[in-house]
Symmetry: C2
Subunit: 608 residues, 2 copies
């Protein structure tokens, strides 16, 4: 961490597990500090003093004890009870070695709408706190009974006028209500005691439920956290950037990767703020190759399929059991591996303007660097692991022989028939349920791809959500998919399918040719074409040709899509062939349920 | 089905799978008809004519083809396109043998706010439909662009004045907007072409998202479907009661049980409407026993634990390897079973005023009746299977020797120490993820228990939701629990825990006695008591005693709860001992996270 970078903290409530699990995960991901969420402490078997010592050993400061609720603007008897409660918590903080306590604006039926009373009582609390060496950070909850905007909480803090009383700003509470964060700049920096950061998708729902279930790490949602945080830093805030994210998935996911995801979100935010020294993401120029790990049976299956799709075997790795199949700029590696079960995408490779810089950036963003065995004279490819375990290679296929990975392959005489494929259009990789948002952030931060909005569709065996990440030119494009709810025992669809979409300039001609070559293409039922005719009424001759060749169709304002599929090969991998006409930007998701039902039939037929 | 009962239908969209899966499940659950959801048909490999024939073979009529969207109040060129689209769908309906088409109120940007134009164009559509022997059922979507209340859709239908044009009423669209269903009675019955029923929890969110993700079967949510449906029947509606439920969980659950759940919801609704001849639920008078299936190791563990809790072994089954342990009215059976893995609740038994009638009602409500092997002279206990597979017995412990299940046990000399347990307070059974709402409906419909509201709390490894079902007197009480999201690989908590809560009149004395007897009680950390003191400030002497005995505490407006726990025994079962003071009505859920973290520590310690 450079000396000008802010400190980075995380609230324990962001992570799953016991307090012990959470602290370990936060320390391993490189956080400087934590907010201790009261419930985590209460359930812990470690006395507060031991927790404090343990944090110190892990190199974590305890930046905030939180939350303290329903304190201010109450009748005298309630105030007396609340002060007693606060003193007990000061005892705990003393043991912990924590010097700042978060006090949320009241939601209590005991409270009254009286800013003067609130200020007076908060002053009293701050006085008690100051006597213990503690500061009070007052925060307006978005659903606070009377105080629910930061402007209002600031008026009260200003009126209370005690040096041990300041504000806690929480991006969710402020941005969820549509408040303008610009006025934060008018608050003196020394009164900004704490900053909590959370992103969120834009949802039309009760703000309390939205906050408690759907927060995300910065960069995963729809809020402009860069602009928000810039205002806070411009006001002179010098405390940590601290994450407080309540999220149903993160609450039950492995805290190790979740903490890494959290740290990556802060590093990425710092980059957009200009307070991080990350190497910029080099420009990407397309998909270099896709490598499939195959067992012996799947290798035969894939070899036949690739031949049927018009690919030629053009290379054999000099030292590994890897074969290169090529058609146009589409390159598929088959890596025969005794450890493989069927076929799956083991690695994807992107063309980088500077592979070494890409890898350096990835490492700074906590992507695990993969060790590569390569012999003298072979290319030293840089690779990192994506959240789903897929290897991501950075390479320059067009570089001189010394640098290009192609130099590692002996060239075979090309014998492919050719079927019009010119390259790789995109990949679609189903993500493990707990890693969907993490994956989008990974590709955005590490590779510099832009995430498109999350979409959902109803598939035969449950809802599916999808988010495509792509470079600005659309030459690198990865669709991340996941079930909306983790699937259970009854889910006869393909488990975690992976799709390799190839580009053609004439889908009908490619389909005809591939069928002649024996490609295992997927049959689409007639009902689909009847519905297509009813819905979009394409030219009847086109519908007839689509029907004949089992090619699907979609249209948007700017263009058309023709696409078709192979059956599922080796358990989870299949190919798509895509023709884009005009500016059609999507991936034909409207046709996915039909394709999925057809794959289900194919599997059922194969099993029966 | 009696001749006065309405027909029962289900929309294919309610169920997971391909159309083939859905139709099979609907027929097996006893539905009379289906609504064919267009997307299901489009993805099916069966031509429409074959689908129609298949439905006929299954005994299912096709009561509705749905939905047809964005038809009315459009410019002439769009109208021409929409009529063409409709004719294509009439072709499909002709093949299917379906005579009613659902037309949803428009959400199209092409539409204009002109009731006269809408009526005129719907008249035209009805004319075309009538020529094909088809009727049009017009439905106001809650988010329709101009038409979003049933009163508005009825004004348009009345103005259109065509015999082949009527209304489709959907309870969700009407009740979600808070419309008063009473005015439905003013609509002539012959203009009510179709009735779709869906329940839902009360959620403050965008109505479209609420509808698409969170609908439930009648009786599972917060809507008053009895009053709603009564209005529709009073208007003279004679069509089917048809379910149209979009639900994220049902969309991916096994369609077999889901269809049974759906049918049970309709049978139960008919009962409250007075149009079903179900035998009423006999009164229940408490928990008769809980039977644990145990392997050899778990049997030793449970035997020791029961002894430590003050239970006495009071009986041995005459023909089965089942031992009866008793203390007060709490009875636990240990069923040594080679098929068991550890310990789990295999059966629960309730005291029924009429066990035979209870079983007859359960059977009518599609509860699987369990075959019982019993010898001559042994009680013929009636039992059914709950959705999680637990057997539910109906019995009369206090009946004469001939009838009571106790007569099947040889009496042993009671040697239990006694520790103040007087009976079973409640059970808490974790439900399989896909069966949570089904379970609540099962206990409500089959046993006549009342469901309390769903609650949620943050547990160490993810959110947990809970819903208690209880008889009016609270003597039979089952807390159904489930993870809010299905857990994945990282979830080191107890998998699907089951809790048996025993009653005491003095928790501190019971805890002291049980500790003397060697019961494996769960240790609660000191932080809990510090927080309890800060939060509720109970009498310091009480806090000290609670702390000493690891007894937890809660308080509400009407009373107090003192409770403590054993460790987890045999993998997933543990005991709780509960003292209720005054009218305390809950189950101490506020303390669950602390208890769960303590159980996690216990397991970790046992493993380490």
């Amino acid at each position: 961490m450079s000396s000008t970078e802010p400190r980075r903290s995380i609230a324990t409530v962001c992570l799953s597990g016991t307090l012990e699990d959470k602290l370990t995960a936060a320390a391993r991901a490189g956080f400087d500090g934590v907010e201790i969420f009261e419930n985590d402490l209460v359930a812990s078997s470690w006395p507060a003093k031991e927790i404090g010592e343990h944090c110190a050993e892990l190199g974590l400061s305890i930046d905030l004890y939180q939350p303290f609720r329903d304190f201010e603007a109450v009748p005298p008897d309630v105030l007396a009870r609340n002060l007693r409660r606060a003193e007990r918590k000061f005892d705990v903080m003393d043991q912990l070695g924590a010097d700042t306590m978060l006090v949320c604006s009241s939601v209590s039926p005991d409270a009254v709408d009286d800013d003067d009373l609130a200020a007076e009582q908060l002053h009293l609390l701050a006085e008690r706190a100051a006597a213990r060496g503690i500061r009070i950070a007052y925060e307006a909850l978005a659903w606070g009974r009377f105080v629910n905007t930061y402007e209002h909480s600031w008026r009260i803090v200003r009126r209370a006028a005690h040096p041990a009383l300041g504000l806690c700003l929480d991006s969710f509470h402020i941005l969820s209500r549509g408040s303008d964060p610009a006025a934060i700049r008018t608050i003196p920096g020394e009164k900004l005691f704490f900053l909590q950061l959370a992103d969120a998708p834009r949802l039309q729902m009760d703000v309390l439920q939205w906050s408690r279930h759907h927060r995300l790490f910065p960069g995963q949602g729809a809020f402009d956290l860069t602009a928000f945080t810039r205002n806070v830093l411009a006001a002179g805030y010098r405390g940590p950037l601290s994450l407080e994210v309540f999220n149903d998935v993160f609450r039950q996911a492995d805290p190790g990767p979740a903490a890494v995801d959290a740290m990556r979100s802060l590093l990425s935010l710092q980059e957009t703020l200009g307070v991080a020294d990350l190497p910029p993401a080099p420009e990407l120029a397309g998909h270099a190759f896709v490598e499939l790990a195959v067992d012996a049976e799947a290798e035969v299956r894939l070899t036949d399929a690739l031949r049927g799709l018009g690919f030629a075997e053009t290379g054999q790795h000099r030292s590994k059991p890897v074969r290169l199949w090529q058609q146009g700029d589409a390159r598929i590696l088959l890596n025969g591996s005794p450890a493989a079960a069927g076929a799956s995408v083991g690695a994807i490779a992107v063309e980088s303007a500077d592979p070494v810089a890409s890898a350096r950036r990835a490492q700074r963003l906590l992507a695990p660097i993969l060790p590569r065995s390569h012999r003298a004279g072979e290319a030293d490819l840089s690779a990192v692991a994506a959240p789903d375990g897929t290897s991501v290679f950075f390479c320059r296929t067009g570089a001189g022989a010394a640098d290009s990975w192609l130099g590692d392959f002996t060239q075979l005489p090309a014998a492919g028939a050719g079927a019009g494929v010119t390259g790789i259009d995109h990949l679609a990789l189903t993500q493990p349920f707990d890693h969907f948002d993490e994956a989008a952030l990974f590709y955005r931060a590490v590779l510099g791809l832009e995430p498109e909005p999350v979409t959902e569709f109803a598939a035969p065996f449950g809802l599916v959500r999808s988010r495509t990440v792509a470079d600005r030119s659309g030459r690198v494009r990865v669709a991340l998919e996941s079930a909306l709810l983790r699937r259970g025992d009854w889910a006869p669809g393909v488990r975690e399918p992976q799709r390799i979409a190839l580009t053609t300039e004439d889908a009908l001609a490619s389909a005809r040719r591939m069928r002649e070559l024996g490609a295992p293409l997927l049959e689409i039922p007639g009902n689909y074409y009847d519905d297509l005719d009813a819905r979009l009424a394409p030219d009847p001759e086109l519908v007839a040709a689509l029907r004949q060749h089992s090619v699907l169709y979609d249209r948007d304002e700017t263009g058309e899509l023709l696409h078709f599929f192979t059956v599922v090969l080796g358990g989870r991998v299949f190919f798509e062939v895509v023709q884009r006409i005009g500016g059609y930007a999507g991936d034909g998701a409207v046709n996915s349920p039909v394709r999925m039902a057809a794959h289900r039939r194919q599997r059922a037929a194969a099993l029966g």
